[in-house]
Symmetry: C2
């Protein structure tokens, strides 16, 4: 049977084990539906416009996209004279125009989002006597520090009813959160959550165009402002990255050469994501390193890094120019390191190490709780009532937060105050600097951290835009400040103990700076939750600006990452990618236990292949039937036992459609061959060797698995064929490799079945 | 003839065209001598110690080194209990210990080098009344600004002879430069030049152990101090990177697991190089990005980036702690951006663009002049008299520099003063702020820039340690200040012109800041000479510290790179790598003109292969003879026409030595086979299939050349085999790819023949 016509083994397999659909799970991301087509479908891949198009949920073919880009550039370079020069300038200019506009746009958007959030947040609590549209800061501007602001009235003051304060808080929380949820649910379901997992997957080649639609942009920005203002335990950092990418895609639609090429589009998006981080943290270099470390943008070329850097700086400059906080600082919680606080003592490494270990432990706990909450939400009745869930959680959050003084304010303000050192001139903040109430403050801070941890674990994943960075920083800052207060208390109680001898001997001299402990706590917690290293340190370094304080931050990030890695290597974004089963290949190193490619590859016997006869080739009709029957991306082509090459389904269809039509018209049944062979001119063979892909990698099945994985990572491949002495032994696809990374994680694909 | 015994075609080829030695130029870096061995040599590859060793001048096999490291890690992980834990901790700890010690060491070395240079430099000019060992700054410390320092006396003041000043300057210059040259020539020839080209090549896999020997460390550090102090036109930045790498290698010798594995050693060196840049520029983040952009360290894994970051920060902290300038700043020429100078006006973009274009042009000119000078030096009589050359050049430099006021001081001081704005409080610097002498200053600055350009082009490449960064910055700063003075002059002359209307209307109000023009000039010149982007901007950003000034710096770097690229894509380091013919593959993108792998590969017919018979295998003796005859790294193995695999010469030798000895003892002549085949147990065949390399890549000859190049770049390969349908078509080695990049450059290999 073999050789004379394409192998039809898979059809037999339909009833047997070897080809039950579950065997092809490995390729499911490429093909959302069933991979068997029952009967010939007219157009299984509807094409939009010209050029190759990908289905939502597929992955792009980097090689093909880059080949197309190469071809375009070559044509551009071949134009001569003035026309060629302008064409080339226009081409380079379009990319830079989009880059610059994205930077300006996201800087502006970030600034206005801050203003909006501030206004909405203040609106929850009261109104300005001058007018409804002033927020508290603007209303009270022009006063000296310490002076009371009578122009700003809380709702209870305004209405002279005491209990209305709680009620209005409650009502506005519910109203804000509820409307955010309704907006997201009915207008742009992709606007929920942080968006970073999806962006990582998209940058890696996943196709999810509706995730970056203009509607998503609008709803995400608006919903984010509402969600943050509602007082829920969430941040704006991740969603801002998403907004930035939406904006870049919208702008790039002006130029079809960027929009049409999926590889080029992704390079554009990488720069936009970097700018989003830059604005979110007010840290242009942190953004670039976030792009390098977390989004793996550098793998796409040095020009991507450069473009990301430019976008990032422009965005930060736009933000600084607009100056939403009116402070001339890029972020609300910038730390002022004064001469007094630049020195730290060796004994402080002990509390800092404790904090780092705590950060690692609590970070892992937060990841786990969050994953469980997400899985529970999906499997329980909550799945059908997302808006109601948001409303209930926001009500609970509002009530719980009213009870604890540090929870009552917005997280960013809380963090800003926790990072600041006590200073008699600046005034006290909610009694944090009251030295007689140290232990009460410690208790309240720990309570705040615990409550925030539980609330965040639940909130991150509801049907509203929500970032995880700010809550994590808040939890860490509370813990850090608590540890700082304890250390300070101990030092003041036992100033003569040998461990504190390095402190200045005068009573009441500043020795321990609890504000910097809050920074350390935040960095440890971030390390535990995100498992990033360099970019975290740079972001926190840009907040503090003091080289002397980089070392403790570095140590805390590293220790908390080590502790966290003990309970599972994945950061929160990787966990969400695994739960949603996106085809994303982590850039991290894979260590095999001595396995080779042969242990993971799909053996040749299980593959659907086009097998031609050494002498006779194969029948066109048979190949056509095979291509119609399977929706795989492509098929290996054999001649006898020898591997000839690999042909994609698209190319085969394009070639076959014409040939079969000719056959039908002439009534003949031609045979075809893929292996170049000497043919008599009058022979009936059709040479299909041009259909074969040029860029196919072959390796030996003895290849160590680690090398196979790193080849996939570095070359962005879809598949590798394994052969020995020319004979096909098997194939490994990207999904097989993704599985290697996620297989041990219990919640893999837990959220992937039903869409959003 | 084929099949029954190994192909002996190459022997025939000795007389023909196909195998003249020049054909094997492509592999010459692997084999410094001739690739034909006439008669069997006893031990052609002397092995040092255990494990695989590479010859000086070869390239390492990344795959093999990483496999060895994997194996070591696996064994380490298999140990159980307390012993296993301590072994693993010791392993991780050793790496971190070396990292931290390198950081501390290079920070300290950098600081003391600064002190030494300052002292030596001042010694040229005079002496301190307190004592011989104080330098000018320490001697004059404690004075108010503007007060005259009577304790410091120039030699002419001290000896009351006017003309002795010139003479002493001349004599000490010659003495310093001459002794540096003698040290380099007789003790460590590798200590000459900057060292960055070699480090780039080494990090990429080149083996050049003596380049990083302890002697080189000592001589380079000492020679560098002497060379800088002699007043020659050179900087310390590049050589400091070299010193840092030497130090790291010296420290890593404590731990054989780092020292023995060439891949791990290189990861260590990458972190050290980053720390070197960090100390040289006082810019820890700039160092990390320099590592990413110029040294391509990120390709070696995220852990390398993290380790580089840690080393870099520790080194910068050590430098700050020692504080060699006594200013609390990391670099001498840090820029103080005051509120007055933060604003720049749109019209200033015009002079800045002119500067950027100028930077690109002069950068290219400097590269070209330098390359010509290097080639001329090699081919002329100067080649035999390096010390004399250094002495003469230093004498000429000293005389020429005495004539121009700005050339008389050390470059770093000049740059620091050019970067500073005029400030009546601080006092004038050599009349630079004299508003009545603007045009005289412009003339002097341009003269200084021109002289420095010519001197630098000659000096960079002489037999002394010399960096190119500082002279480039100095040239750029002179030009920038000149353009700034011109702009300022024009603005003051025509304050009512429409272009200057954005300036404040009061007369004598500050509008143009010539100091920042010097920064722009420096960045443009650096962009033109080095062709770096992100890392340059970050280094200069860390100097100025003002976000508002990043945009002009970014634009100037980009424009000067564009202009420079028009005259040749390579930066000065790539040019030197090409001239010395190091096997270094640039990470930059390669654009083919439609070529495929088939156009550059060495066709199968020209390859020396082991070809066994389909039925009979091949004779052990024949294989042995072939391996003895050629010193290639390895040989493709064919069975009939079919490609079976690739066997390295080392592995073959190891296997054959035993087998041949057995044959000699028993008197039989066995046959061997590489293709696994069913064998009768009593057959005389030896199965050599285990000798074949596991990790061999095969591709189709139709593969576009761009993809072949990027595969080499990303996977760090030595070779790729090309086959179609199992039949070998050819092979491409790394050297072929390196040639693609350097072929168009006229001076390729101009300095490579004779060693140092």
């Amino acid at each position: 049977m073999r050789g004379s016509r394409p192998r039809v083994k898979p059809l037999e397999g339909l009833n047997g084990h070897a080809h039950s659909p579950s065997d092809y799970d490995a390729e499911q991301y490429e093909l959302p539906g069933d991979e068997y087509i029952n009967g010939p479908l007219p157009t299984p891949f509807p094409r939009k416009g010209k050029g190759p198009a990908y289905e939502e949920g597929g992955v792009i073919d980097w090689q093909r996209e880059e080949a197309a880009e190469r071809e375009r550039k070559r044509i551009l370079a071949s134009h001569r004279g003035f026309r060629g020069l302008t064409a080339r300038l226009a081409d380079a200019g379009s990319m830079w125009l989009v880059t610059i506009l994205t930077g300006l746009g996201i800087g502006t958007a970030g600034a206005w989002l801050d203003v909006l959030v501030r206004w909405l947040g203040d609106l929850r609590e009261g109104r300005c006597a001058y007018g409804f549209f002033y927020n508290q800061v603007m209303c009270c501007s022009g006063l000296d520090p310490g002076e009371l602001c009578y122009e700003w009235q809380t709702w209870s003051e305004y209405l002279h009813i005491k209990w209305i304060f709680v009620q209005s808080l409650l009502q506005s929380s519910i109203a804000f959160a509820g409307s955010a949820a309704v907006l997201v649910k009915y207008y742009a379901p992709y606007a929920f959550h942080t968006g970073i997992p999806e962006i990582k997957a998209i940058l890696d080649g996943y196709v999810l165009d509706s995730f970056l639609s203009p509607w998503t942009l609008l709803i995400k920005a608006l919903g984010l402002a509402l969600a943050v203002a509602s007082g829920l335990s969430l941040g704006k950092e991740g969603p801002l990255v998403h907004v930035s990418c939406c904006l870049a895609l919208l702008l790039s639609k002006m130029f079809k050469q960027i929009h049409r090429n999926e590889a080029r589009k992704r390079k554009m998006l990488a720069a936009a994501a970097v700018a989003g981080v830059s604005v979110a943290f007010g840290s242009p270099l942190g953004g670039v390193l976030f792009g390098l470390e977390e989004l793996d943008t550098f793998a796409k070329g040095t020009d991507v890094m450069w473009r990301g850097f430019v976008t990032s700086v422009i965005a930060a400059m736009a933000l600084q120019y607009i100056d939403p906080f009116g402070l001339g600082k890029l972020v609300l919680f910038q730390v002022q390191i004064t001469d007094e606080t630049t020195v730290w003592r060796a004994f402080e490494l002990i509390p800092w190490l404790i904090l780092s270990v705590l950060g690692g432990l609590l970070g892992s706990l937060l990841i786990r709780l969050n994953a469980r909450a997400a899985v529970y939400r999906r499997s329980s009745a909550l799945n059908s009532w997302p808006t109601l869930e948001v409303v209930c959680v926001s009500a609970i959050t509002a009530v719980v937060c009213y009870l604890v003084v540090f929870l009552r304010v917005q997280s960013s303000e809380l963090v800003a105050n926790l990072f600041m050192e006590c200073d008699p001139v600046r005034g006290d903040y909610h009694g944090l600097c009251n030295t007689t109430a140290t232990w009460a403050n410690v208790f309240l801070l720990i309570l705040t951290a615990g409550t925030k941890l539980v609330l965040t674990a639940w909130t991150f994943g509801m049907m509203i835009p929500a970032g995880i960075f700010l809550p994590t920083i808040a939890i860490g800052a509370c813990l850090g400040r608590a540890v700082g207060l304890i250390t300070q208390g101990l030092q003041r109680a036992y100033p003569q103990a040998w461990i504190f001898l390095s402190c200045p001997p005068e009573p009441n001299a500043r020795c321990v700076s609890p504000g910097f402990y809050a920074v350390i706590g935040a960095s440890a917690m971030l390390g535990g939750v995100t498992r990033m290293t360099v970019s975290l340190v740079v972001i926190l370094f840009e907040l503090t600006g003091a080289l002397s304080h980089v070392l403790p931050i570095m140590i805390s990030v590293m220790v908390s990452k080590w502790v966290g890695d003990y309970f599972g290597k994945e950061g929160i974004y990787s966990i969400w990618i695994a739960m949603r089963a996106y085809p994303w290949l982590p850039p991290s190193e894979f260590r095999d236990k001595g396995e080779t490619a042969a242990d993971v590859m799909k053996p040749a016997a299980d593959l659907v292949v086009i097998a031609e006869d050494l002498a006779g080739g194969c029948e066109l009709q048979d190949v056509d039937q095979l291509v119609r029957m399977y929706r795989f991306h492509g098929f290996p082509v054999l001649c006898g036992e020898t591997l000839v090459g690999y042909a994609t389904r698209d190319n085969l269809r394009a070639a076959l459609d014409t040939l079969i039509a000719e056959d039908l018209a002439s009534g003949q049944r031609r045979r075809c061959t893929f292996a170049p062979r000497p043919m008599q001119p009058e022979s009936n063979f059709v040479d299909l060797s041009t259909v074969l892909e040029d860029a196919v990698l072959q390796m030996r099945p003895e290849m160590p698995l680690e090398l196979v994985v790193s080849t996939f990572q570095k070359l962005n491949l879809r598949h590798i064929l394994f052969s020995r002495g020319g004979v096909l032994f098997g194939m490994v696809t990207k999904t097989d490799i993704v599985h290697l990374f996620t297989a041990q994680f219990p919640y893999t694909s837990a959220l992937s079945e039903k869409g959003w």
